[in-house]
Symmetry: C2
Subunit: 317 residues, 2 copies
């Protein structure tokens, strides 16, 4: 019996990460159809956009799905209202204090997970009553913790500290990284970058192509004076590096970042001006595939590697 | 059959990392007695000191042992001469171009490994004729690569690219991290931080205690303008952080670093003024143990987790 699969009522203990500009209802529904937890990324959606994505996902999905909710989102009350009205079964919160909304969501029957980057915050989230933890290492794409603890070091720390189910994130894209994460103590995994490069992701084709072409060493965790974010090489990251070379202040970096760069890069495909958030594991992603084929490949490789030799915890269901 | 164990003629595919100020002949000999590859760290030794450590290690060891040789070491010709005269069976080179010395060493029957932090340098080292690769992730202690690729992402990249045996380093301290690294594609592992906190390491007791007390998030990869190095929190790292807060130039940082800080911290136990090089996995190390007990614990946990279910590559011998 797999604790994460059971809790989330999914076939395989895999969460498709909620990601700004990449994970709309098409990706979440395809993931849900493939037997994993599909997740709508609410961080890049206006309230009415989220409402529409949830409706479409509910109509199309087959098993459970989730909404990822950055807790610092300015119109969070409206998002929470939509989530409750539409009876979203699972919410994964991130970037903020889980104490604020967990009780409210749970009292309405929502299963709540929280994304952390350290043992300390995992324990705080557990204390706040969340049902499961997503622990995300330094190698993960997008916004990231300040501790810089890698998945290899973070997962055993968190697994030993908490009682509730744990999904590992950061550096996971295939069966071997999934098994490695589970050997380290996770009950399952959250996969982001690989699904950015899926057919059903709402990422622009230019961005998908650049993910497939990315080599090792071509992402960087940067803008630490603002909010640390892992970006793929491209015009904007080069501009950021030049700013650092010129001893730019936090204020200058903030001006350089401006507004709307993530949309411009990931959704509109502007590889020169846009912000391209992706994980280190992009170097391991070589093909744009359908979500169904990605999940099939991971699960069949997982079975072939025969991890049941490692014990009952490695069962997928 | 395990390729790394066979190549290095050791019982278990574990390399005790060569580390400045921590890995003298006592640690290397104890490791060799425990069935793993003991390694003398030559980077902090004058030629006559290295000669003496090799002699003592040869007298005390039981199976194979190695010398770790940073290729940028100023008196490298003398070190090479000593290594060849004393018939050191294995040399692990790092921090420099393996093309320079590999042929010479191999022509004298020395088995040569090289430490890398990227796939690109792994391929270059293989082309230079080395017998095995140590691939070291961002989480590792001490001097580190600029790519910042974590063990989780680096090992599959390197394993798929090279033909020769591969040891994973960075974040490895116990059976589960060892198995995880092998699931990712490594033939074995190199362990550093855990052996710093061994009875036989030449690290000062103050430093060993601080490693045992270290919590997650208390190391940092810093001084990137000079040579990136992962340090444990302490007086010197606080001073470095303050310098960065004051927009210190590379020149100022170099002056702040000065000379002899690594010896002062790790060997003399000055936790205020000294440089304390350690990996992120220090947070997972809770006890100072003998090398024999550390290896016994790792191997018995490895057997208990039953990774033979994962196939023949997981055999230890």
């Amino acid at each position: 019996m797999n604790r994460l699969s059971q809790l989330l009522n999914i076939k395989h203990p895999i969460i498709q990460a909620g990601m700004v500009w990449c994970s709309g209802w098409e990706l979440a529904a395809a993931s849900s159809k493939a037997g994993i937890l599909g997740t709508i990324g609410a961080g890049s959606m206006y309230p009415e956009v989220l409402r529409s994505h949830i409706s479409k996902c509910k109509a199309a999905r087959e098993t459970n799905f989730a909404v990822n909710l950055p807790l610092l989102y300015p119109q969070i009350e409206e998002h929470i209202k939509t989530i409750l009205e539409q009876e979203v079964p699972v919410v994964i919160t991130s970037a903020g204090n889980p104490r604020k909304w967990t009780s409210e969501l749970k009292s309405k029957g929502v299963i709540v997970g929280h994304v952390v980057s350290s043992k300390k915050f995992a324990l705080k989230a557990q204390d706040a009553g969340v049902d499961f933890i997503v622990a995300e290492g330094f190698e993960a794409g997008g916004h990231n913790g300040r501790e810089e603890t890698t998945t290899m070091c973070l997962i055993p720390e968190v697994a030993d500290a908490i009682e509730i189910p744990l999904a590992a994130a950061g550096g996971i894209a295939d069966a071997r990284s999934m098994i490695a994460a589970m050997v380290l103590g996770a009950d399952g995994v959250q996969i982001g970058s690989r699904f950015v490069a899926s057919k059903e992701s709402s990422a622009h084709d230019n961005f998908k192509s650049s993910v497939v072409q990315a080599n090792e060493g071509q992402t960087e965790l940067t803008l630490k004076e603002l909010t640390p974010v892992r970006l793929l090489e491209g015009g904007f990251l080069y501009a950021v590096r030049e700013a650092y070379a010129n001893d730019a202040s936090a204020e200058t970096l903030k001006e350089l970042l401006g507004r709307g760069r993530a949309k411009k890069g990931m959704f509109e495909g502007d590889l020169e001006e846009g912000e391209l958030e992706i994980g280190q594991v992009s170097s391991r992603i070589d093909k744009i595939m359908s979500v169904e084929d990605i999940v099939k490949e991971i699960i069949s490789d997982y079975q072939r590697m025969n991890p049941q030799g490692l014990g009952a915890r490695f069962q997928l269901a």
